[in-house]
């Protein structure tokens, strides 16, 4: 490691030569320069100094390296305690490497300062989460996320995965199609003898051979009946199959969607997801059951016809088939245009649905602010956009079909010309020409419908792509490949140096907290200080950007998500009730709960009495958004819901903010029972709610600034004191809230 040859490709000569005994320890490839232009450069750390291509700084005891990021740009700043020495910038993709660099720097500097050799670097650990990396793997299995593997263009073929269970039926359908198509090709063949051996001889004075005619005509009838029966069977079977494939696809997509993280839902609009799962699976379904079937038939028909034509007369057949390559070329030309067009239409369509999905749940706000006209206008605009995109596409599309039609007509004309010429030279009989004309009318009809499949295929492919977009999306809180079995939880949670970022905004910056089993923690701090975010991380709705959270010594990322969440009871500020009865809503997390359990949970949450006031008691229906209940009532139902699963860890995120003081007081007294035997993390805006907390954790702008109980924190007269004083002052100013003020006094006492 003495030379610079351990540097990455292309950087070996980027640094000045090292001194004797100097060892290269770490380096960071920067991709931005001082003026924030994209330009790469290198900064390296040795056991003596930090150096770049042109400058170097010794590792003095006062040297300090520190890292900040803002708007997607990370920055490392080096100072000597008084003065800024240097500043390096990079895009956040390099953040893990930069943090590694910073850690290595601190280790070196501390060892220089203390004179002790630097602690041996811990076994390779992930630069992001600091978990040890298994020896046989290169990247951290927890953090390695495939950021870009685009789905293949042959998206439709991927539907095979869903078709596979129906292989047998599909094969039967195919064989039936083959037979049915063959049967439809019999009649034109029979017109040949009918012409040449019956009608033309009759014109030349021969009497009609009635037995022959009877045979030929019954052949025609037989073929038609046969084709009808086979056609019916295959349409039925294949429709059955495609309906099932469609249903499987829809279910699979929905199941997958449910497993995706909150991050995914945060970035998607409801309308768009509704459109994907509803409309597009249906479109794929129709494509499979109708168009794909027709297409297969067409192909079969065309090949078989071609074969028959060639056996009758190769020259005439050749002429007949001339337009085929031209049409093929046309199809190819138009296909790309259409596909992107249809993708665009789908997106616009999702936009239209999104307007609905945004407005309908917010209808009270819309009406309250009298914005109906504007919402209507928004819808009209989305529709207009839809029209524009469609119009553009239709321009191409409308030209395409008639062109194919024209080519067909020309083809028939050519066959007439060539056929007449051949008859005139006695090369073929009239019967052959008749048969040809009968065949090619079918043949071109097929070509025409085949050209139509271009549009439907493209539509289905676009739909399939949007479905597979969901199916291919890897949850950003993935279940580990080999999940560690979760030991029985005692309820302790260890949060170590947790950093978290939403997009490029750093929200949590180095949280350390050790929560004991059975402890009640009160999280307080200004709104926006990251309390809910921390709780989201503890629930593993998101994964930490750096650091780790452990329960019973196991990192959250190495256990199966659902396994872990079973032990968490969560009550949010805005309770969500599903459409159904009150009992069903309470039992949501434990559908097999007995009635006695439901009632007990409701009692504990002080919801029992108001539930009994409902017309059907526990069997009363509550609406989609629980319209018929008040905020406090809904909240108590959601508390009961959390209690029913008897969680080891109970999380209350401003759970009592929406209830009136009296109700809160009731819940408060219930809380006594609730927190017994479980770890509780409670976030509350009203500090009085937290008086039973063992420890209060005060957060400020993504950091923990104070920990202690109420009295300790009051004595410190700092963050908590100020929050508390601000509240009691407000309460004094609001005599109407005397009840609350009374409670405050109780706390102080």
């Amino acid at each position: 490691m003495t030379a610079t040859d351990t540097l990455p490709e292309g950087w070996q000569t980027a640094l000045p030569p090292l001194n004797a005994g100097e060892i290269l320890l770490a380096w960071l490839e920067l991709d931005l320069d001082a003026n924030l232009n994209f330009r790469t450069s290198l900064v390296a750390l040795t056991n003596q100094r930090i150096l770049t291509a042109t400058e170097s700084w010794p590792l003095t005891a006062t040297a300090h390296l520190h890292h900040v990021d803002h708007a997607g740009v990370g920055m490392l700043e080096l100072d000597d305690g008084e003065k800024l020495l240097a500043r390096w910038r990079y895009t956040l993709g390099r953040n893990p490497a930069a943090l590694q660099f910073e850690r290595e720097f601190n280790r070196q500097r501390d060892s220089q300062a203390s004179g002790l050799p630097p602690p041996a670097p811990v076994a390779a650990s992930c630069p992001i989460c600091q978990l040890p990396i298994p020896a046989d793997e290169e990247d951290c299995p927890n953090c390695a996320r495939e950021l870009h593997t685009p789905p293949s263009t042959w998206t439709l073929l991927r539907l095979w995965r869903f078709a596979q269970p129906y292989k047998g039926m599909l094969l039967a359908g195919f064989l039936l199609t083959l037979a049915a198509t063959a049967a439809t090709l019999v009649p034109p063949y029979l017109t040949m003898p009918l012409m040449d051996e019956v009608l033309i001889p009759y014109q030349n004075g021969k009497p009609i051979d009635t037995t022959k005619v009877a045979w030929l005509l019954s052949g025609l009838l037989g073929a038609a009946v046969f084709a009808w029966a086979l056609g019916w069977a295959r349409t039925y079977i294949l429709a059955l199959v495609s309906e099932r494939i469609g249903a499987d696809l829809r279910t699979a997509t929905y199941e997958h969607l449910l497993k995706l993280s909150l991050e995914y839902f945060g970035g998607k609009r409801t309308g768009d997801l509704l459109a994907r799962i509803g409309t597009e699976t249906d479109r794929i379904n129709v494509f499979l059951s109708l168009h794909l079937l027709d297409f297969a038939t067409d192909i079969l028909m065309i090949t078989m016809t071609a074969v028959i034509l060639f056996t009758i007369n190769p020259w005439l057949a050749l002429v007949t088939l001339i337009p085929l390559p031209i049409i093929g070329w046309l199809i190819h030309m138009v296909r790309d245009k259409l596909r992107t067009g249809f993708e665009q239409i789908d997106r616009v369509w999702a936009e239209v649905t999104s307007v609905l999905a945004d407005t309908i749940p917010g209808i009270r706000v819309v009406k309250a602010f009298a914005q109906e006209a504007r919402e209507a206008q928004r819808f009209r605009e989305a529709n207009k956009h839809n029209l524009e995109v469609n119009d553009r596409l239709n321009r191409v599309w409308s030209l395409f079909a008639p062109t194919v039609g024209l080519l067909t007509e020309i083809g028939v004309l050519v066959v007439w010309i060539f056929g007449i010429w051949l008859i005139a030279h006695d090369r073929i009989t009239v019967g052959v020409l008749t048969a040809f004309l009968a065949y090619i009318s079918r043949f071109y009809m097929r070509l025409d419908s085949m050209s139509r499949i271009v549009s439907t295929t493209q539509k289905a492919a676009a739909g399939a792509k949007r479905i597979f977009d969901i199916l291919d999306h890897v949850s950003s809180v993935p279940d580990p490949v080999k999940p560690v079995a979760l030991p029985p939880l005692k309820g302790g949670i260890k949060i170590e140096n947790v950093h978290f970022r939403y997009g490029n905004r750093a929200i949590l910056r180095g949280i350390d907290l050790d929560i004991q089993p059975g402890e009640m923690i009160g999280l307080v701090g200004h709104s926006g200080s990251g309390k809910s975010t921390l709780v989201n991380l503890i629930c593993r709705f998101y994964d930490v950007s750096e650091g780790g959270i452990r329960v019973e010594g196991v990192d959250l990322r190495s256990v199966a998500v659902a396994d872990y969440r079973k032990h968490i009871g969560l009550v949010l500020q805005e309770p969500f009730l599903f459409f159904g009865t009150i009992a069903e809503n309470i039992a949501y997390g434990k559908p097999d709960a007995t009635r006695a359990e439901i009632v007990a949970a409701a009692r504990a949450a002080h919801a029992h009495e108001f539930i009994l006031r409902q017309p059907y008691g526990y069997d009363s229906l509550v609406g989609e958004r629980g319209q018929s209940l008040s905020g406090g009532e809904r909240q108590r139902i959601s508390i009961a819901r959390a209690l029913l699963i008897d969680p080891k860890i109970l999380i209350l995120d401003e759970a009592t903010s929406a209830v009136d003081t009296e109700t809160e007081y009731e819940i408060q007294s219930a809380l006594n029972n609730l927190i017994r035997g479980r770890t509780t993390i409670a976030i509350a805006h009203r500090l009085s709610t937290l008086r039973r907390a063992d420890r209060l954790v005060v957060m400020d702008r993504g950091r923990i600034v104070e920990i202690g109980n109420h009295d300790e924190l009051m004595a410190r007269e700092d963050h908590y004191y100020r929050l508390y004083m601000a509240q009691s002052k407000q309460l004094d100013e609001l005599p109407a809230l005397g009840m609350e003020a009374g409670m405050e006094n109780e706390v102080v006492a």
Partner: protein, 161 residues
């Protein structure tokens, strides 16, 4: 709670640590002040606020033009250091038309690659033809007016809109 904008006189200096130091009407000095634009996209120059390191507003500035030369210079400089929204001039190539897709682009800050995780990361701006593209690593790229791009870039872009 809305407070009246703080618009009194103030002074700015830069200390040795490279931080901005703000001294307001009351005479107290605040280190580590950052200027932020209130309407970063729609009216970048119309309102600028000076925030303390505790994220409290120290000063509201309606327009930079009204400031003395020194303050204006320091603020513009700090904004330039702080802001990073490369403007895409050309889209050279994309790895695929399905997302996630890696784009090779030419920006006003040089050539680079960005990863588009989903079409939803392209946001239409109010200004006609304006687009904001959030890449997988949290950077934001801007396209001022897509109709001004060259034909090749426009063709690529259209597939994602």
């Amino acid at each position: 709670m809305s407070r009246a904008p703080i618009t009194g006189s103030f002074s700015l200096t830069r200390n040795l640590m490279g931080q901005l130091v703000f001294v307001g009407a009351d005479g107290t000095a605040h280190e580590g002040v950052t200027p932020v634009r209130a309407f970063a996209l729609t009216a970048p120059d119309a309102g600028i606020s000076l925030m303390s390191s505790e994220s409290k507003e120290l000063q509201w500035i309606d327009s930079l033009d009204s400031l003395p030369e020194n303050e204006r210079h320091l603020i513009t400089e700090a904004l330039a250091q702080h802001e990073f929204m490369p403007i895409i001039r050309r889209i050279l190539s994309v790895s695929s038309f399905a997302t996630p897709s890696t784009w090779q682009v030419e920006t006003d800050r040089g050539a680079t690659a960005l990863i588009l995780k989903s079409e939803d990361d392209i946001r239409r701006l109010k200004s006609p033809g304006g687009l904001l593209i959030a890449d997988g690593n949290g950077l934001h790229f801007m396209i001022r007016d897509r109709r001004d791009l060259d034909a090749h870039s426009q063709r690529i872009l259209k597939r994602f809109l």
